[in-house]
């Protein structure tokens, strides 16, 4: 499980862009909408990592953004979102050891345990933002305008 090499899966995005034929600006509108949605979601994730420290909420935020980014073929963002989702469910450890996957049922020191996952999510969020900037760059170039 490594992050996809290409930030954008163009065979998926091209299919959406092909819709512009009878609805000019469709794909661009969708992209702009997504970029806005992603920025907001990142903000919300940040709050949940730093303040509310709510893993469940982070799980659902990750799931949410994974859905829309994957639908647009923005696979690297989707990948990081899935990681955030899994970390929020404690299904994946920060150190990717398989042992942690099995023994997540009842940990006694909940708060300390959560901290590990929150830490990992924080790192993943930095990466997500990085991938986001790459996507924005590539799409701006494609649409010949600053997105």
């Amino acid at each position: 499980m490594t992050i996809p090499k290409e930030v954008i899966n163009w065979s998926i995005l091209n299919e959406i862009i092909s819709m512009d034929e009878d609805d000019p600006g469709f794909s661009k509108g969708l992209i702009i909408q997504f970029l806005e949605q992603a920025s907001n979601t990142f903000e919300e994730m940040e709050v949940n990592v730093q303040q509310t420290r709510d893993l469940k909420k982070l799980d659902s935020l990750g799931h949410f953004l994974k859905g829309s980014s994957a639908a647009l073929g923005l696979q690297s963002i989707a990948w990081v979102c899935e990681r955030i989702q899994n970390l929020g469910r404690k299904k994946e450890s920060g150190f990717s050891s398989t042992e942690d996957l099995g023994s997540m049922a009842s940990s006694e020191d909940v708060t300390e345990d959560d901290a590990v996952y929150l830490d990992a999510i924080e790192k993943a969020l930095v990466q997500a933002r990085h991938e986001f900037s790459l996507v924005r760059e590539e799409l701006s170039e494609y649409y010949h305008c600053e997105l």
Binding site: Q33, F64, A71
Partner: protein, 524 residues
Amino acid sequence: MNVTDSDMSVSRPGTANTTNNANSGAKAPSNDFVRKLFGILERCEYPDIVRWTEGGESFVVLDTGKFTTCILPNHFKHSNFASFVRQLNKYDFHKVKKTPEEKQYSQYGELSWEFKHPFFLVHNESALDNIKRKTTAQKKSSSNDNNNILGPFEHQAPHEISSTGSVPSNVVSKEKFNLLKKKVDKLQKELDISKHENNNAKLEFQKLNSKYNTMIESLLTFKTLNDNLVNNFGTLCTTLASKGVELPQTIYDYVNLNESLNKHTTAGNMQLKSFELNNGVDSMVPGRPPTLQSAPSNLTPAADSSFHGGLPNNGERDLRNESTENSILREGFHVLLVEDDAVCIQLCSKFLRKYGCTVEVVTDGLSAITTLEKFRYDLVLMDIVMPNLDGATATSIVRSFDNHTPIIAMTGNIEDQDLITYLQHGMNDILAKPFTRDDLHSMLIRYLRDRIPLSKQHEQRQTQSPSISQTTPHSQSHSRPPLREQQSIQAASEDGSRVASSTISESDINGLIQDEPLLKKQRV
């Protein structure tokens, strides 16, 4: 060892008394001691020391001191009165108890000891046979208490057991019991493990099953794609040939064979273009013929065989055209889209409209239920993770009043366990996110193929249901060229799945559609 029956059941080596007594008297097996005592009393050798009582039902030791010093050493080879009493007790003699007053006025003196046994009677030697040594069980069992599970019981009631002489022969030792217990525990564990494994196996089977179905599906998609490719290649060959490009003889033969089918170069080009858009095959872009021109010689063998496999002759091609027209996805299906993500809503409804569907959107499970209570839809596309109520639960509620409408799960959670859950909740199928336009289309085909949209079923009946091939909206496709391209692909994919999935004739299906829920037939 020569022991009696009653001794046998519990007798263990090392019980010296038992053995000695048994061996010393050959005629009277077990109660030599009793007989010896009887003899002394009968002969009345020491009337001052020991004698029968007046009634003859018991005997009395008048002087324990003399008894111990004179009689015991001579007759019983020891000088221990306590031993003698113990011996009597072993033969179930009992000391006749007396109150202090009774003792005081006893004719035999205050210090006399009176013993009795129901069968130890004056002048009655034959009764002695009934006097038996108590089983050693009491002594043994008390010493073996720890090893015997019946220990406590025996301890409480040693007399009952010994007097009847019937020690349970089915006694199980504690060791054995523990062993059995361990075995049972082990078996229980093994059973639990087996159960667990069985469950896992079932799960695994379900997983494999869903994987298998997915495989079949992708196989069909692949076949569709392949057919499509073959078509396009044929078109390409024709185009090239018409422009004077020389092709290897095998391809040329084929092109001649199918020339009549692909007369319209423009139409062919459009097909090609749509194919390229759908699959992202960059090398097929029409603006780059040089690559293709250099390629044919390499492609020949594969292309040649696939041509023959896909389109053996004109006759079959005609058949294909016919079925294409019959089983196309009709326009006007009303689809309910249940999705909470704005981007996905836009995208999915755009795709749906492309396929001629009308779309209504709700953004959570609860609204989906209330909407489905009020209106009918040809198909429902349902996200799983949503606010208020998740899609799976919503579906199970919808299924309580609507078993007909196909409900397709759209989800990124495509772990096998999840898939099983969705199906168990009454969802018909799963469209894995992210999906392409083709994925969506094959799903629409699977559930809406040969169906008449609900909105048109009314008028259909009024016009005495004309043959379906005539209802295909050709006129629309002229005004919207992209749709027409789409239809050509639909046709191909339709053809592919038809071949593989069923041999039911068109009229049969139409007949069924009128009155039976789609669900039953479509379940594989």
